[in-house]
């Protein structure tokens, strides 16, 4: 069977996966624990993009993929989507967040105070090469403040609303099961606010940064001021079947509110939040949210544009799909190109006449050769 012998797809794909996994070696509990301990910020980033808060599973995904972030996020998403919904937690308000870090660039000091919390913001970024010479980088112990910072802080926007600086629309009462869910419904435009914020929450950090940064550089209409940035833990308050509400634990969350002047009399806010601590992402995402109202179609700050193009699983998957064979599509284009080239060598006067002349003909299959591109490539529909 000469025809079949030339093909070895099934064996080849099995071996190529083995080759990849051989490079990573065995994955055991110890390696997962080491990833979780050593790379908490990476685990947070992956949990945010996967929209699944489970540090151990996120560490497993990172270990299993050797740190290929898009592969890790896909693993977690594919696992997450099959899991049942056990309960819908109660909404979390800002003043109930157990806050580790909270800063505002809009005022020198704010009610509740500026809490620096853990950050590398003011560190000197010097690579600790001494570690490689055998001298470990042992952090100096933190000196406790005289008074512990309060665990809960009011939102700055609440003060601004009281001052009449920020619009204060009445909260919309939505039944828990009626909350729009991007993972169970298609995304259509204009998107419900819930879908936009969910899309940004699980967006690719790098993608959101690229588009958010384009807005910051001037491809948006509003310059963001960080009104309030928080790294916090949110309590998961879940209704018990008996009717009581209990805490099922806490999840790390980040949120950013960015502000811009609106029409000279008011402040407009952009908001974003995500699971895990990821400051760059929420500031960039809040900047997109801030710039979205009224943005022109097809610009980076327009909701459809940024939600479609910052979706990490879709974007990365489509990018790598170009490795798949496309030879049928290519063959289909070659045919028309050769025919068009053959026509060019013997062009009748009228272009429309040219087509009619060959309608019944063989189509002039010319010798293989590089077809020369027209000065302006003709547009084709799809692909």
């Amino acid at each position: 069977m000469a025809y079949v012998a030339t093909r070895g797809g099934e064996r080849a794909i099995a071996q190529s996966e083995r080759l990849y996994r051989e490079g990573l070696g065995p994955i055991d509990r110890d390696r997962v624990a080491a990833v979780a301990d050593a790379l908490p910020w990476l685990v947070d980033r992956v949990m945010g993009e996967a929209s699944l808060y489970e540090p151990e599973l996120a560490a497993l995904a990172l270990a299993q993929t050797g740190g290929d972030l898009y592969e890790a996020v896909l693993l977690l998403r594919a696992w997450r989507t099959t899991q049942p919904r056990l309960a819908i937690a109660r909404p979390v308000t800002q003043d109930r967040l157990f806050t580790h870090r909270r800063i505002s660039a809009a005022f020198k000091d704010i009610p509740g105070g500026q809490i620096l919390g853990p950050t590398l913001d003011y560190s000197h970024r010097i690579l600790a090469t001494e570690v490689l010479e055998g001298r470990p980088l042992t952090p100096a112990p933190v000196q406790k403040a005289d008074r512990p910072a309060p665990p809960h802080h009011p939102s700055l926007a609440a003060w601004q609303k009281a001052q009449g600086l920020v619009a204060d629309p009445a909260p919309e009462e939505v039944a828990p099961e009626a909350i729009p869910d991007l993972t169970r419904e298609p995304l259509l435009f204009p998107a419900p606010r819930a879908h936009r914020l969910q899309g940004l929450a699980r967006a690719d950090s790098g993608g959101v940064l690229a588009l958010g940064y384009s807005a910051m550089r001037g491809h948006g209409n509003a310059h963001p001021t960080v009104n309030e940035l928080r790294l916090a833990e949110a309590e998961l308050r879940v209704p018990h079947p008996r009717g009581t509400v209990f805490s099922a634990g806490r999840v790390k969350v980040s949120q950013a509110e960015v502000a811009a002047k609106e029409g000279g009399t008011r402040i407009r806010l952009g908001f974003a939040a995500t699971l895990g601590w990821n400051e760059v992402k929420v500031i960039a995402a809040a900047t997109l949210d801030l710039n979205a109202p009224g943005a022109a179609k097809g610009t980076p700050t327009e909701e459809e544009f940024f939600l479609y193009h910052t979706e990490p699983v879709e974007a990365s998957g489509f990018c790598i799909h170009f490795k798949l064979p496309h030879y049928v599509t290519f063959q289909s284009a070659l045919d028309a190109m050769r025919d068009a080239n053959a026509r060019k060598t013997q062009p009748p006067a009228d272009p429309l006449l040219r087509c009619e002349n060959t309608l019944g003909g063989s189509g002039g299959r010319s010798a293989p050769g590089a077809p020369h591109a027209p000065a302006h490539p003709a547009k084709e529909t799809t692909e």
């Binding site: 099959t82 799909h321 496309h326 087509c355 293989p368």
Partner: protein
């Protein structure tokens, strides 16, 4: 008394066919809508599956929803059953659904395909699932999904004809290769997915159901059995399939079907049947085996 254990199934790591029942229910509703409005793109949530987006996740979700333990599943990529990604998809469906895999078009009950429709005619009891990278025929003239949706609602397709007209003016003929836009049931223009033009007439008034699903773009559409599928063309410049009618497969000697062109070191090219298992059957038959080859859509290089 009934014990709780008798009412529930034992715990399993995943649902039958991977997708959970709520995902399948949503898929079925979207599929029914798609069948009810032929060619109209129906949005769906599109769950993540254990495969990268753009690698057939839309087709896979349809197949996983349709499949049952009695199904016989054929998966092809570019016409080939043993293309790496087709193998991967078929193995996954077999693993999570216990369905049997096949290479034989005649034998399959569900055929998932990327970029080709088999050369043998499909029957009423077969379903063709086409993987769709971009479900929107209007994308080149309107990249925003929301605006394109409005254009479909208005049957505003003038700019697609303009694209084809521009090709005629620039190149002397319609240059559209694969993904040739077609009017379905006289109402919605669809992209048939990047199948070659050769395969498009196979959808017109076909006996089988075709489901087209784009997982990344979250749209599903359908060509129900016995539905008109008309390629966009002009009265004086009709639709033309690829000039493959006279090409001969160098492996099987068969002529009159869509071919892959294989460049040769001496500057020439050889051709082989793109529908690889159709080719295998032709070779087997020529070697004297009793192989059943179904009726084909094309005969002597022309649509029958």
């Amino acid at each position: 008394m009934t014990a709780l254990g008798e009412l529930t199934r034992p715990w399993q790591a995943m649902s039958y066919g991977f997708l959970d029942p709520s995902a399948k229910r949503e898929m079925r509703r979207a599929m029914l809508k798609a069948v009810a409005v032929p060619g109209c793109q129906i949005p769906y949530a599109s769950r993540e599956v254990p495969m990268a987006r753009g690698w057939g996740t839309g087709g896979l979700q349809v197949t996983l929803t349709l499949v049952n333990p009695g199904s016989v599943v054929k998966v092809i990529d570019q016409g080939a059953d043993d293309s790496v990604n087709a193998v991967s998809i078929r193995q996954f469906v077999q693993k999570v659904a216990g369905a049997r895999g096949t290479w034989d078009t005649q034998e399959a009950t569900i055929l998932q395909s990327r970029h080709r429709i088999p050369e043998e005619k499909l029957r009423e009891d077969q379903i063709l699932v086409l993987q769709v990278p971009n479900p929107e025929p209007l994308r080149p003239v309107q990249p925003n999904m929301s605006l394109a949706r409005q254009m479909h609602a208005d049957a505003d397709y003038g700019r697609l004809w303009l694209v084809l007209y521009e090709q005629v003016v620039r190149s002397g003929r319609i240059m559209q290769g694969a993904s040739y836009p077609a009017l379905v049931n006289g109402r919605h223009v669809m992209t048939p997915s990047p199948i070659p033009r050769w395969d498009l007439p196979k959808l017109d008034m076909a006996r089988h159901l075709t489901l087209l699903s784009a997982g990344r773009e979250k749209r599903i559409f359908a060509v129900p059995p016995f539905t008109r599928v008309q390629p966009l063309a002009f009265d004086d410049i009709p639709f033309r399939v690829e000039d493959h009618a006279s090409l001969v497969c160098h492996r099987s000697g068969v002529a009159g079907f869509f071919m892959n062109e294989i460049p040769q070191p001496d500057g020439s090219a050889r051709h082989e049947l793109s529908d690889s298992h159709f080719g295998i059957k032709a070779i087997r038959r020529s070697e004297g085996e009793a192989v059943e080859i179904g009726e084909t859509w094309y005969r002597n290089g022309a649509v029958t």
